[in-house]
Amino acid sequence: MSAAAAIREVNSKMTWAGNFYRSAIGKKAVMAATGVILFGWIFLHMVGNLKLYMGAVHLNEYAHWLRALGAPAMPETGALWLMRIFLLVCVVFHIHAAVMLTKMNREARPVGYRDRDYLAASYASRTMRWGGVIILLFVIYHLLHLTTGQAHPNFIQDDAYSNVVTGLRVWWVAAVYIIANLALGFHLYHGLWSMFASVGWVHPKYNSWRRTFATTFAVIITAGNLSFPLAVLTGIVR
């Protein structure tokens, strides 16, 4: 498409939302918005799971409370399903935008360099795409493992505590959890920082806070999530 045609697109008849999502900057804003929702959720997920350290009764009560959330105003698991659908929509948009942008970026440089060096790009920023793929594969496994149980040899319905302990006691399962959560940590380290720029929240006065915010939450979430398989492996939680 020519430059003039690109400008005509700006004036096109599409709804502003359609035009907005079609632009790369719009997609990045959607990735930031969905990313921050998923971050908020994963933070609460980690905090909720800390109940593992309070024993079987507490964790299972908490798991039951999540299922019954909103009852009796809503049917049992009603709020849970609303949340799941909302998160799924976020995940779909986050991944769709990432795939489209990656394609756009690959096409922008058809011939690469023989040799290239990085001066500023962090390891985290350079592994966002593959890190994202690892996280997606892990989420699928994690759901089959501890939510539906197909990937769990000793799955007991409604006994979250026992499922976690017997599941993570297997060394390679624990290793999968550890690797995936390290990938998540790197993804958050760059994502939680760059999302502010994607929506234009940059200012010299607050830029150091962006870095602190991203590092702090990436470390807290990763440390919390890594502690679960490690606690089971070392027998602290049994």
């Binding site: 430059a3 760059s194 940059v202």
Partner: protein, 255 residues
């Protein structure tokens, strides 16, 4: 100092290119990188061979003509805010091997050897990198008051010399640093306000036709000879998002 240089040679847009190795012997450490190439070229011409083609003009870092990938880094200065012409051979060691490649991007086709067509950047400027004013006698300078801090920021953005290093270094082949500098230097000043929304929408639309998208690697900022901050990218995103959300259909403009 004696060096071995591997240079990308390509006869024309359509021709296949490849690296050719030359020895650059007895080079003064006080020579600039372009002067080193000049010396190599003189020797090539004495032998009746075709010289290495590269773009250059002012040779003092203000015109934005020169630019090449030097050992995998745009302009080769590794974060010192220098254009290729300001890079001196003392940055290298005797006996070094240097790989020299043209900027690589779909929007920057190689014309010959190290010269690329950077017309894509001009198209972004044509889309909105201007203000529409009546020409005539110069207006009274104090008619529009601009705070000092705003002037400085606008000038930081306006320092862009359109060399294309940001695109060349970006792993995504994105032109966000360039476009954001151009959007910001007008958008920050009162003279740029009437066309502010239209400008950012059009310039971004044209940019996205040719270049990649930003993932905040920060590579562009590290190689920019004018040390333009990636904060301008955030500023452009804010401007673009605000313009997208607030531009009503009837405000839309003719092309």
């Amino acid at each position: 100092m004696n060096l071995k240089i591997h240079v990308w040679r390509q006869k024309s847009r359509e021709a296949e290119g490849g690296f050719v190795t030359y020895s650059a012997d007895a080079i003064s450490p006080d020579a600039s990188f372009l002067e080193m190439l000049d010396v190599v070229n003189e020797r090539l011409m004495e032998k009746g061979e075709e010289s290495i083609h590269f773009e250059h003009d002012c040779r003092e870092g203000i015109c934005g003509s020169c630019g090449m990938m030097i050992n995998g880094v745009a302009h080769g200065s590794r974060g010192n805010g220098l254009a290729t012409c300001q890079l001196h051979m003392r940055h290298f060691k005797d006996g070094d091997e240097i790989w020299i490649e043209p900027w690589r991007a779909r929007a920057f086709p190689v014309i010959k050897d190290l010269i690329v067509d950077r017309g894509g950047l001009d198209k972004i400027i044509q889309a909105g990198g201007y203000i529409s004013v009546n020409t005539g006698s110069a207006p009274e300078a104090n008619m529009l008051l601009v705070p000092k801090a705003v002037q400085e920021r606008a000038m930081d953005a306006a320092a862009c010399i359109q060399c294309g290093a940001c695109v060349a270094q970006c792993p995504n082949g994105a032109a966000q640093l360039f476009t954001s500098a151009k959007v910001s230097h007008l958008g920050l000043l009162p003279q740029g306000q009437p066309e502010r929304k239209e400008r950012v929408l059009k310039m971004v639309a044209v940019m996205e036709e040719m270049f990649g998208s930003c993932t905040l690697y920060g590579e562009c900022e590290a190689v920019c000879p004018k040390e333009i901050s990636i904060d301008f990218i955030g500023r452009m995103n804010r401007d673009y998002l605000a313009a997208s959300v607030t531009t009503a259909k009837k405000e839309k403009v003719e092309t």
